[in-house]
Symmetry: C2
Subunit: 187 residues, 2 copies
C-alpha cells in the first residue's frame, strides 16, 4: 500500500513483509483537497497523520483571531494535534492542507495496539518521539536566544525546500516574527 511508509519505518527498524502488511492494515488512507481540514479546534482528534503527498500546517488561533503555526508537515512527516490525540481530548489546534494532500491515518487505539503487539514498532515510535523532542528543544532555544534575522536564516538552512511551497506570512507566524520584519529580511 505504501512503500514510502515502509522505507520511513525501516530507516529505524527492519520489518518482514508480514510485519509490514500487518502494520499497514492499521492505517487508513485519506485524500484531501487544498484548504480542507484534517483537525479542527474543539473537535475530537481521532488520528495521527503520516504525509504521503502534500503539505499541511498545524496552527493555533487565539481569541482575537491571531494565528500561530505550531508545525509544518510535508512528505514523510507526521502531523496532528498531539496533546489532544494522546490525551483523547478536544483539539486546540487546526490542521489544514496547504496543497492537495494524501495522508495515512493512525488512530490512537491502533497505535497503542501495534506498539503492544510489535516491540519493534514501539521502538520506532519511541525513537521518533525522542527526535521530535530534540527538535522542539532547538526551536525553544531559537525563541530564547535568536533574533528574528537569525531565526529566519536557521529556517532557510533547515527547510530550504519548504520555502518554495509556503507563503511568507506563514513562515513569519511559525518564527514568531511580524510579517514586516520577515519581508525586510527576505527581500
Amino acid at each position: 500500500m505504501s512503500k514510502e511508509l515502509r522505507e520511513h519505518i525501516e530507516a529505524i527498524t527492519r520489518l518482514t513483509d508480514d510485519e509490514f502488511e500487518y502494520i499497514i492494515s492499521h492505517f487508513t488512507v485519506k485524500k484531501l483537497k487544498k484548504h480542507r481540514f484534517l483537525v479542527q479546534a474543539d473537535e475530537p482528534v481521532t488520528n495521527d497523520f503520516w504525509v504521503r503527498k502534500g503539505l499541511l500546517i498545524a496552527y493555533y488561533s487565539n481569541d482575537q483571531g491571531k494565528e500561530h503555526i505550531m508545525q509544518f508537515a510535508m512528505e514523510d512527516w507526521w502531523i496532528t494535534d498531539y496533546q489532544a490525540y494522546f490525551n483523547q481530548s478536544k483539539a486546540t489546534l487546526n490542521v489544514v492542507c496547504l496543497e492537495d494532500t494524501e495522508v495515512l491515518c493512525l488512530s490512537l487505539h491502533n497505535r497503542e495496539k501495534i506498539c503492544r503487539e510489535l516491540h519493534k514498532i514501539e521502538h520506532f515510535f519511541r525513537r521518533k518521539s525522542n527526535a521530535g523532542y530534540i527538535a522542539l528543544q532547538k526551536r525553544i532555544l531559537t525563541f530564547l536566544d535568536s533574533s528574528a534575522k537569525e531565526r529566519y536564516e536557521q529556517f532557510l538552512m533547515q527547510y530550504p525546500s519548504l520555502l518554495q511551497r509556503i507563503p511568507k506570512t506563514l513562515i513569519a507566524s511559525y518564527l514568531g516574527v511580524s510579517r514586516e520584519t520577515l519581508s525586510r529580511l527576505s527581500s
Copy 2:
C-alpha cells in the same frame, strides 16, 4: 535501591520485583553538592538523570555569556542535554545543581539495552517522551501567543512548588522575559 523510581515507572507500567531489580541494576547513583555540574558544555554527555532529591537546571550560555534556561528538574523528573545524549555528541547545555542533589544515572547504552530486553521499558520511555513532546509544544505556544504576564501566571499555576525554590532571575530566563519585567509582575 529506589522505591521512588519504581513508583515512577509503575505509574505507567507494572513491574515484577525481578524486573525492577534488573532495571535498577543499569543505573548508578550520584550525589552532588549545590553548584556542581552534571553536564558541561563542550563535554560528552554520558547519562540521562532521574532526580531522587534536589533541584537542577539545564541552561544554554551564548557567546556573549547570556544564559537561557532550557528546563528545570526536581524530584521525579528527568534531565540532561537530550540532543547530545541521544546523538552522542558534545553538550551545548550545562546541567547544574541548585540544591544538594541525588540522581540516578542511565547511560544511553544501558537505556537502549533495557528497552531492547524489556518491551515494557520501551513502552515506559515512549510514553515519557510523548508527554515531554506535548509539554514542549505548550511552551512554544506560550512564546508565540502569551505576554510576559501570562507566561508568568501560567508558570505559577503549573509549578507552584518551584517558585519557593528557584531565584526569580532563573524564572525570568526560563520564560524569556527580562528580570525587570518579572519583578514588576511578581511584586
